[in-house]
Each structure stands twice: as structure tokens, then as C-alpha cells.
């Protein structure tokens, strides 16, 4: 049987974080009552005309610059025509053959283009399905209509649902750190469509693609792409051909349905927008865009790895979540040159984040917690010097998260200081060995399993302040192992 490989390209719509809409002065506010941020222009009233929001262009240029794409010299808009109530003018002002950005790359996926356009209004269909088919009525909220969008189109270089989802996470974080968008999938400020085809492994031609629309979470993107790939394989294996069409994935049922039949395939009748004559991209705008590019996640991860010596995984974790990365750098700075950066990374990435976790899709910001970077640096140093053991360190962290403060007094107050090696610990270990003759017998035969019982005993006696490694060392010493 032929093995197939998926060929996937993504089209991502990103709402740009401007103060006002793409072609009028209406403010952009998510969640306000419907139709409270509208004006004659974004309602498409007769006689109104669009005026380009320069900030949207600047943000679009930033995206292009960050991805190393070629930035357009001219700003050219086209009209894309179709009738739908979410489109007040009967056409969307978009870009066609001269996008703002051509080419570019992010991580393992190349980009075809980035263009800017206006968002449609938000339609809500009354009725069980929440979709237009079978609905009894629909309401339109034009607050969203005219929001500036950047459409980012990748090359068909993605080969699996997992790669798509992981690349999309990288894209989201990169855009977030660029500051060009809120990239909130639930609120729709980042939306993803996937163009999917399959081909026999080894083949270099492209198969007929389908377009899977608007999957609004990473999980759905993976599920949707996997389901569509499986469907296409079934179609081809049953001897039929994949039809070019637009599809909707229903995450509740896992089913895929056709949104638009091919009979209704759209002729968008693109033509140059006569209300917006082509203009040179102003040099100030280009310069301002170039000057606003911060260090981006991939670059930061590389720096964490090469300059601060973090493991790949820690480096990516901290770099891909800017709040964690910033907090990490603050903690490293507070810890001074002696600080163990990998340990700091571990404590932030594991222990601290777990204690702050605010739920799915909400990244906690340690800077907003009561734990000062200097306190965390001190805590990591105390554990590193074995002044307290790791368990005790975790207890200190609990207190820091709850109350703030510095580790020293907490260790004092809670009596968490580790029992020193040798003299202080030796009698306790001796007592534990005395109390566990069976374990001692086994240990003497070289079976180290019962060491757990000895350590447990010591921990109970010392209220957890002993260092497990030290207990083992002393046990071996006493028993002459």
C-alpha cells in the first residue's frame, strides 16, 4: 500500500494591535456592546471613503522585517468582492499582487507573503448549530468590521499536524513579542486556516488541496489537520479524487463538512482600489518599523543556550514566554556571576510556574508575583550550597509565593536549615540503622534498595532537613560499604 505524506500550508489572520481601525478612526475595543464602535466609513455608508491607518502599515512592516521578508516599496490595495452581511461595502479592501511583504522565514517554515487588509464584521447566527445553515436569523456586530489584519501565508512546507501546531506556537509568541498583536485565539485576534493536500511519499508534485477554516485552538488545529489528512487518504485509497473545496472542522464531533461547494466557487473580481491610489511606503515608517524590532524568541533562545549555558529545552521555554525570559534574566542578574543559571531556569520553569499557573492559555508572569528575583536567586544559591535541601527549598518557595520576603528569615523561622554533614547527622543515621536491622542486613549484601527506608527514617527524625545524599554517604561509611 502507498504511504502518503501531508503537505500543509497555513494562512494566519492576525488582528493588528492598533488603537483605531484600518480605514477609519473608530477605536478597537474587544467585548463592548455590539455596534458601539462604528462610523459612516466602517459601516460602508454611501459616499464614505477609506483612509489608511499608517500604524497598521508599520506593524505589518515589522512582521516582514522580523521574518526577513522583502518589504514593498509601494503600498497598493485591491478590492476583493463578495456579498455577505459581514462585509458592509460588498468588498474587502485587501492586497493582491503587490503584498506588503514577500518571502521571509520563521524557524522551519518559509513564508510566501504577508499582506494587510480589513477584517469583516462579526456574524452571530441564531439557532442550534451556531452556523448559518439552519439558523433562523443572524445578527451583525460591526465593531470588529474594519479591524486591521495581517494575513501571513506560509509556503507548503509543513509535513504534519504536530509541526503545524508547534510552528504556530512559535509564530504566536514571535508576534506577541513583536508587540504587533494580542494573538488571542479565543478572542479571534489570531485565526488559522490550513491548506492541506496529500501525496505519495517521495513524490514532489502537489496534490489537490482543501482549505480547512478557522480552527480556534492549537488542539483543534492538530485534530482538524489529522482528520482532514485521514479523510483525503481514505478518498484516494477508495479510488476517488480529492475535490478542491473549503471545509469546516467540527471539534465536537471530529467531522469535516464542506462550507462552499465548488459550483459556488468565488470570483472575487480583484481590481485596484481606486479610493486608495498607490503611494510610496514612507521612509520614516520603514525606519520606525525597523527600529522597533525587539530580540525575538528564536534569537533569545539561542542566546540563553550559547551565552548562559542553558539546555535547549530550558532555553526555548524561557525565550518563548517573554515574561519568564525577562524574569529569568532578572534573577540571573540578581544572583551575580556565581549563580547556577541552569538551576535558576529549572526553579523558574518548573517550580515557580507551577505555583503561579493561572489556567490554560494564560501565561503567568512571575514579575507580578510576590517572589522577588533576588529572593529566588538567594533560594537557588542556598540549595546549591546545601544550606537547605531541595525539599526545604520548595517549602521556602511556597512561603515566598504566599507572603514574599527573603529566604533567610523563612529558613530560620520554619527551622528548615539542613542538618550539617558529618557530626550532626551521623548519630541520627546511626539511630536509623539501629532501628532497621533487616534493612542493614540487605544493605550489607550490596542490595541498596532499603536505603530508602533509612533516608525516610532520618527525614522523619529531622523533619526533612537532612540531605538525602549525605544520609546515603554516611550509611555507606558506617557500614563500611
Amino acid at each position: 500500500m502507498t504511504a502518503f505524506e501531508p503537505v500543509i500550508g497555513l494562512e494566519i489572520h492576525v488582528q493588528l494591535a492598533t488603537r483605531t481601525k484600518m480605514f477609519c478612526g473608530c477605536e478597537l475595543v474587544f467585548g463592548d456592546p455590539p455596534n458601539t464602535h462604528t462610523c459612516p466609513v466602517c459601516l460602508g455608508m454611501p459616499g464614505t471613503l477609506p483612509v489608511v491607518n499608517a500604524e497598521a502599515i508599520r506593524l505589518g512592516l515589522m512582521i516582514g522585517e522580523a521574518f526577513g521578508g522583502e518589504l514593498a516599496e509601494r503600498l497598493v490595495f485591491h478590492r476583493k468582492s463578495y456579498f455577505y452581511p459581514d462585509l458592509p461595502k460588498g468588498y474587502q479592501i485587501s492586497q493582491f499582487d503587490e503584498p506588503l511583504v514577500s518571502g521571509g522565514r520563521l524557524g522551519d517554515v518559509g513564508l510566501e507573503r504577508v499582506h494587510v487588509e480589513e477584517d469583516a464584521a462579526k456574524l452571530t447566527h441564531a439557532g442550534a448549530s451556531g452556523r448559518i445553515g439552519g439558523s433562523t436569523s443572524s445578527v451583525v456586530d460591526y465593531n470588529r468590521g474594519g479591524t486591521p489584519l495581517a494575513e501571513i501565508v506560509t509556503l507548503p512546507e509543513i509535513r504534519s499536524a504536530e509541526q503545524a501546531s508547534s510552528w504556530l506556537r512559535l509564530l504566536r509568541e514571535t508576534l506577541r513579542q513583536l508587540g504587533v498583536s494580542d494573538v488571542n485565539m479565543e478572542e479571534g485576534s489570531l485565526r488559522c486556516d490550513a491548506n492541506i493536500s496529500i501525496r505519495p511519499v517521495g513524490d514532489t508534485t502537489l496534490g489537490t488541496k482543501t482549505e480547512l477554516k478557522n480552527m480556534n485552538s492549537f488542539r483543534f488545529i492538530e485534530q482538524g489537520i489529522n482528520a482532514e489528512v485521514a479523510r483525503q487518504i481514505r478518498v484516494v485509497e477508495s479510488g476517488e479524487r480529492v475535490q478542491q473545496e473549503t471545509l469546516h472542522f467540527d471539534p465536537r464531533t471530529g467531522s469535516i463538512t464542506s462550507l462552499r461547494s465548488k459550483e459556488g466557487s468565488h470570483d472575487y473580481r480583484y481590481f485596484p482600489e481606486p479610493d486608495l491610489p498607490p503611494v510610496q511606503v514612507p521612509a520614516e515608517l520603514l525606519e520606525s518599523a525597523r527600529a522597533s524590532i525587539p530580540e525575538l524568541p528564536l534569537q533569545r533562545a539561542e542566546r540563553f543556550r550559547t551565552e548562559l549555558g542553558l539546555h535547549e529545552e530550558s532555553a526555548r521555554l524561557l525565550a518563548f514566554r517573554r515574561a519568564l525570559g525577562d524574569y529569568f534574566e532578572a534573577t540571573v542578574a540578581a544572583g551575580g556571576p556565581e549563580a547556577d543559571r541552569q538551576q535558576i531556569a529549572n526553579w523558574i520553569g518548573n517550580d515557580l510556574v507551577r505555583r503561579l499557573d493561572a489556567g490554560e492559555d494564560t501565561d503567568p508572569d512571575p514579575a507580578e508575583s510576590k517572589v522577588e528575583p533576588a529572593s529566588l536567586a538567594e533560594l537557588v544559591a542556598l540549595v546549591g550550597a546545601k544550606t537547605i535541601n531541595r525539599k526545604a527549598g520548595e517549602k521556602v518557595l511556597d512561603v515566598l509565593v504566599a507572603e514574599g520576603g527573603t529566604p533567610g528569615p523563612i529558613v530560620e523561622r520554619e527551622g528548615l536549615a539542613a542538618i550539617g554533614g558529618g557530626d550532626e547527622l551521623r548519630p541520627v543515621v546511626q539511630a536509623a540503622l539501629d532501628a532497621n536491622p533487616d534493612a542493614v542486613e540487605k544493605l550489607k549484601t550490596g542490595n541498596m534498595k532499603p536505603i530508602g527506608a533509612i533516608v525516610g527514617h532520618v527525614m522523619r527524625e529531622t523533619k526533612g532537613r537532612a540531605d538525602g545524599g549525605e544520609v546515603t554517604r554516611l550509611t555507606r561509611e558506617i557500614l563500611g560499604l
Partner: protein
Amino acid sequence: MTDPISLSVVDAAAALRRGELSQDELFTAYRDRAAADDTNSFTWLADDATTALGAREGLPGTDTPLAGVPLAVKDLFCITGVPTASASNLLRGYLPPYTATAIDRLQEAGATVLGKTNQDEFAMGSSNENSAFGPVLNPWDRTRVPGGSSGGSAAAVAAGLAPAAIGTDTGGSVRQPAALCGVVGLKPTYGSVSRYGMIAFASSLDQAGPITRNVADAALLFRQMTGPADRNDATSIGWAGDGGSGSASAIDLPTAVRLDGVRIGVPTDLLGEGIEPGVRASFDAALKLAESLGAEIVEVTLPHARHALSAYYLLAPAEASSNLARFDGVRYGNRADIGDGGLVELYTKTRHDGFGPEVKRRIMLGTYALSSGFYDAYYRRAQQVRTKIVEDFRAVHQDVHLIATPTSPTVAWGLGERTDDPIAMYQADVTTLPQSLAGVPAISIPCGLSDGLPVGLQLSGPAFAEQSLLDAAHALEGALGFDGTAAFDPARGAGAATPGSATTGGASR
């Protein structure tokens, strides 16, 4: 005391300023005449001068440039709270929430709004017969059309129902009705007057302009309509001064009486068949007169101008098909009753019932021209022709200051005569379309009569050459001595108002 109706805009403003005339007196005089109108020039009349002030408080001061002179405004200009339908059933009863920039600037300069004038639906037509409000009758002969699309505006001025009117010109819609009604019509350089608030027909061509009794009034109104670039219109480049020289000085009221040193080109390409002999005779006489005033007349060629008609009737409908897509009955305008029908029925029936036949024809033409597979052959090709025409005009203006043609190949024709023959109707624009495609300014002034009906002379110049254009038109106007009030009195009847001297040029005046 002089009859206020007899005063030009310049003179009326002066009289108001001097306190010889009150704003109310002037407004009422025109309101009474307009209310008794039998040419169907108006679609709406203001009750008084305060009706259409929009957000303004109270009447304008008499210290303003227009001092309270009332203007008739083509229906397609949005004015806050004033019925604005672009003569379409689809928009009948629509009240805009804002005022067009051009009208706002005129109001700021002291104009008041007398009423909205009839037009072809969405400015699509050359006879004003495509109106949901019915055809407009030509004041010179009420069995004839006034031209279009600003037919109501031109007829209102010709009949003395308004001191002046504001129209729009896409392919000749100010100049041609001005010519057919014996008044002055100026189409300014594309971009010099804001389009914001004009219900669009063809965005890359639409331009607002004044229709007046004389050239000085046109200059005054144009000066008040233009100004700095409008931040609401990306195609507005504001008033860049004469000849694009970069001087930002305002338009001066023309005073020239001579044409010494002015080289006027006559494009032989546009004077072929189709020009009526009477029109030709009147045009030639006007050229002779221009020569006698010191102008030099030379033959020029605009080799691509003969393709203007075909290019225009692809480009304008293409843009129109898109501009009119917003009229779907969802947010404003008249929505068809569809009972239990769905979205497609809503769109279909609303547009079926709301649009007239010519509008539907152009939407279909334009949609076709933009369709995938036809775009290159039609729209792109037409744009290439347009570029060639722009180049033709640039080349000719290396040699001559102005270009002269008859404004219309014929005088006003009979109502209904061409309604079944769209091509014949479109050919009415053959001499005005090239300037529209080139985006250059052009003015039509009455240059005589043919069979008792007015003939228009069109002068055009390079972009932003309005001052030279107005100066030359003023000099010629004085020599022609055409009586702009000849059709004020309907009792005088068709042709009875013939100022015989003007047919051959009353240079002696």
C-alpha cells in the same frame, strides 16, 4: 430695487454684504420659483435657509465669501439629515448622518442649501432620463432633455430656480448638461475637490464642480470648494495652485478680457463625424472670436482620444459595479419585503426593485469586465488606453495652453429619443470623456445657439490649470455675450429667447 433673481452669485453675495438684500429675501425669492418649477429639477426643497445647516448653528454671517447665497446641490451629495437618494429608489428617503466635504466647505464659506437637484440615478446617464424621480425637462425647450447626469442642476440654473448649483462630473456630467442648458459648468482637476460624501459612481473619475450663470461665479464657487487636502479622502490632493507650479494661492476671480499669447489647440481627432453642423458652426465662430481676442488657434492631435469612449465604458462601470455593491438593503436604504426568504432573496429582490435599468446594465457590464478570465482583455486594456490618453494630453500641452472642442456633439435632443439606444446615448459624451480619463480640468461655456438651442464650448487645460482656464473662459464669455438668463421665463417658450447676436458672437459688447 433690482430683482434678486437677476443677480449672479458674485453680485448677490456683494448685495448681501452691503445689506441691500437680506438672506431671507434672497432665499425666499428662489424658494418660491423652485416650488413652482415645471422642469422637475428638484428632488427636495428646503423650507428655509436654516433647514439644511447640518451641525451648524444659525445662518452664515454676511461677512463670509458667499454671504448666504443659496445653492442647489445635486442629489448625490450627502448632507446631514437631508434626503439623499442619488435619484435611486433604493435610497429614496435615506437621511445621511454626515455632510460631504465639498458642501461643508461651501457652507463654511456662507452658502445655504436651497434644495437637492434631480440627476440620472447614481450619476449614470447623459439625459437625466434615468431618474427614480422622473426626467428633467430642458428649460429652453420642455420637450427636450437637459443633458446628464447633473441635469437637474443645470436646468435649475438655466431656469433661474437657483443662483448656482453643485454637480458632479464623471465623464461629462457637469459640462454636458451645462452645454445643453446654456450655462457654465466646470469640472476641476481630479483630486482638487474632495469626494468625501459624494455617493460614488466611478471613484477614479468622479469630481464635483459648479454649474453657474457665468465664469466668475464658477471661479468663486470652485475657490470655496477646494482648499487643503481632505483627510477623509486619500485621492484629495487639495489645491496645488495654477499649472501645478506649487503655488498654493487661491483662485482669483477672473477679469481677463483678452486672450493675447494664449495658444489654443483644436484636436482634429475629436471633430470628425457626429458633430452636428449647427454645433460646428457655433464652435468655429467662437474660435474666430478667440482669435480676434489675441488667441492663437492651432490644430493638435490626441491620437488615443477616439478610444476614450470604449475605455470609459469599461472602467466606469467596473468601478460602479463595485461601488454599488454596498446597496444590499442590510444597513440602510430600502429593503425589499421577502417574507420568509433568505439572504440571497434579500439581496436579489432589494437590488432588483431598487435599481433602474441603466444602473443594472452598468453593474452587469462592470462585473463582466472584472471577471476572472476577462480582466486582462477589458479592465487592464482599458487602463492602458487611459494611460495613453493621459500621455496624449501631456504631449499636447507641451505645445498649447488650452484645448477647445464642442462640449457636446449635438444640442439637446428630444425626451425619449435615445432611451432605447444606449450606444447613441453614450456617444453624447465623446468630447468630454477624454478629459475625464486624463483627470484634467475642463469648462463648458455657452457659445451660441443652434436651432434656438444652446451650444457649449469646452476648454480644457493641464492639471491644476484652473486659473488660466477660468481667465480664458471669462475673456471669451465677455466677447460672446451670451444671455445666461434667457431661459428664466418659461412664457417666452422654446427658442423664443434666442439672443441672435450670440450665434455669431457679439464681440462688440
